[in-house]
């Protein structure tokens, strides 16, 4: 079965070809003038190093390991994220660190090292969902690049300091001794 192609009947003005061309030229010239008098900041193009795209809420970018107000890491080294990770890029080593115990409202376990291989990570956010302590977040930094493979192995302190400047926190490189109980347990 053939398809009936509808023929468009052009008016005599359109068939001269000169008039439609002039119409088209007026459209392109309108665009030209509009762009000529628009400052670069207001154009559609985001000029990358100077301008950055504002990432939407819920964007899964670079990881952050969260900390308490006193600077102690929230992570309790439960290995849930390591288990959940489909790319198997997280490797944790746990350590015992406190004389104070859980009944007194303190954690007694923390990661001695927390490594994420950013070359393997697929930014799926499964670690964030698996975490029972809300200790690992994926936030909006999408500029993850380096000149060599080694600098893409993010350690515990890299992950804790990722957003320190953006949040106005100070960079830390040592675990502070916890002083304040994390929670009160009703016995």
């Amino acid at each position: 079965m053939g398809v009936v192609v509808k023929k468009v009947e052009l008016s005599w003005l359109d068939r001269t070809y000169v008039w439609p061309v002039m119409k088209g030229m007026s459209i392109t010239f309108g665009h030209f003038i509009r762009n000529l008098f628009t400052t670069t900041a207001k154009r559609y193009t985001i000029q990358y190093p100077e301008m950055r795209h504002e990432m939407p809420a819920g964007y899964r970018g670079l990881h952050e390991l969260k900390r308490f107000e006193d600077g102690a890491i929230k992570c309790v080294a439960c290995f849930m994220c390591q288990e959940a990770c489909p790319a198997r890029c997280i490797s944790i080593e746990a350590e015992e660190f406190s004389d104070l115990n859980i009944t007194q409202g303190f954690e007694e376990k923390r990661p001695a090292s927390f490594k994420i291989d950013m070359l393997r990570c697929i930014y799926c956010g499964m670690c964030e969902e698996a975490c029972p302590k809300d200790a690992i977040w994926l936030r909006n930094n999408y500029e993850v690049a380096a000149y060599d493979r080694l600098s893409m192995q993010f350690g515990k302190w890299d992950l804790m300091n990722t957003y320190a400047d953006a949040d106005g926190k100070e960079r830390i490189s040592q675990d502070p001794t916890p002083t304040v109980p994390r929670r009160t347990i009703v016995m």
Partner: protein, 353 residues
């Protein structure tokens, strides 16, 4: 001029000639180079993009991306110059020059400003003085030669895409030449001479006496045919990227490619100068009866650059024609139209207008 001539141990006439040649050809080449940038920035503006604005002098002075021309030029010079194994080497070397030289020397007869008298000697602002016996037939003849550049480039590179592009382009150029020539003949007829200074003088300084108002049909035909002549969109059959890779310059690289690209833009400049001379009164300044030399040069430059910009503008407005549509337009529309134009003006002249 006399001082310069005595300094160089030549006559003032020769010194003036050398100065003119340098100014005209260096000027046209510079404008052609700048126009590659105008094309890219202009197309970007038309398509709501930004275009090349990053290239900077010494990494600091950005000057709205104008350094891009320099960067491109340097890059082109230092790229490897490959010649395909099966190419005809001699023709492959000659082809860019065959394309570039006709595009440039067509400018020679066009007066780009008012003639002036200094120390009892008349200086003409065109490389070939008026009354040289060639007049505007010369750029037409040279324009016909431009097809060799494209064809030789296509043939010598021994590439099927190249040959297809070259064949299509040469067929286009040949079929549009006739309509173009007839439109120009009408101008010669109404002027009573084919010397560019006569054509300009006959048009006068009033815009409604220019040939665009007297022969609008001829202008449309001439303008359209100029697009085919310069191989620019909507008639760029030499290089239909979507159909035949890059067309006639598929195998060309480094400075050879650069020369072919420059040839196109030089051709655009020459074509714009021709349009300005034939239909827009050349260096005549509207409503100014006796302009100064500088003003006339500025006015000519303005007209020429405006039409060069129209070439860019049209390119980013219209899509490419289909080949059969192009042939249809050339033989069945443009040729009868310019014939009609010629006969109409011949009739008017016979009626004593």
């Amino acid at each position: 001029m006399d001082k310069l001539a005595s300094l160089l141990h030549t006559t003032p006439a020769i010194a003036w000639m050398v100065v003119k040649v340098i100014i005209v050809f260096a000027g046209v080449m510079t404008l052609a180079a700048i126009w590659t940038w105008v094309e890219r920035r202009g197309s970007a503006m038309i398509q709501d993009r930004i275009g090349p604005n990053r290239a900077a002098l010494f990494g600091k002075i950005r000057i709205i991306g104008l350094a891009q021309i320099l960067a491109d030029g340097i890059k082109m010079f230092f790229k490897e110059d490959l010649i395909p194994a099966d190419a005809n080497k001699r023709l492959f070397w000659i082809a860019p020059f065959l394309a570039f030289v006709p595009a440039l020397i067509g400018f020679a007869v066009i007066p780009f400003g008012k003639s002036f008298v200094s120390g009892g000697v008349t200086y003409h602002l065109s490389v070939l003085d008026p009354g040289n016996g060639m007049g505007l037939l010369y750029p037409l003849a040279i324009g016909g030669m431009a097809v060799y550049g494209v064809l030789v480039a296509a043939w010598s590179s021994n590439n099927k895409w190249g040959i297809l592009g070259g064949m299509r382009a040469s067929a286009t150029m040949v079929s549009y030449e006739i309509g173009l020539s007839l439109a120009v003949v009408t101008v010669f007829m109404t002027t009573g001479g084919y010397d560019p200074s006569e054509v300009i003088g006959a048009q006068g300084h009033l815009p409604w006496a220019w040939n665009i108002v007297r022969q609008p049909l001829g202008f449309i035909v001439f303008f359209t045919c100029m697009f085919a002549e310069t191989n620019r969109l909507p008639f760029d059959f030499a290089e239909g990227e979507s159909e035949i890779v890059a067309g006639f310059n598929t195998e060309f690289g480094s400075m050879k490619y650069s020369l072919l690209a420059l040839a196109e833009y030089s051709h655009v400049m020459t074509a714009s100068a021709l349009i300005a001379t034939l239909y827009f009164g050349g260096w005549q300044v509207p409503f100014v009866k006796d302009p100064t030399v500088m003003l006339s040069v500025a006015c000519f430059l303005f007209k020429m650059l405006f039409f060069a910009w129209v070439f860019v503008w049209i390119r980013w407005t219209l899509p490419r024609f289909r080949y059969d549509q192009l042939m249809h337009l050339g033989w069945k529309v443009m040729l009868p139209l310019s014939m009609t134009n010629l006969v109409f003006h011949a009739w008017r002249m016979s009626q004593g207008h």
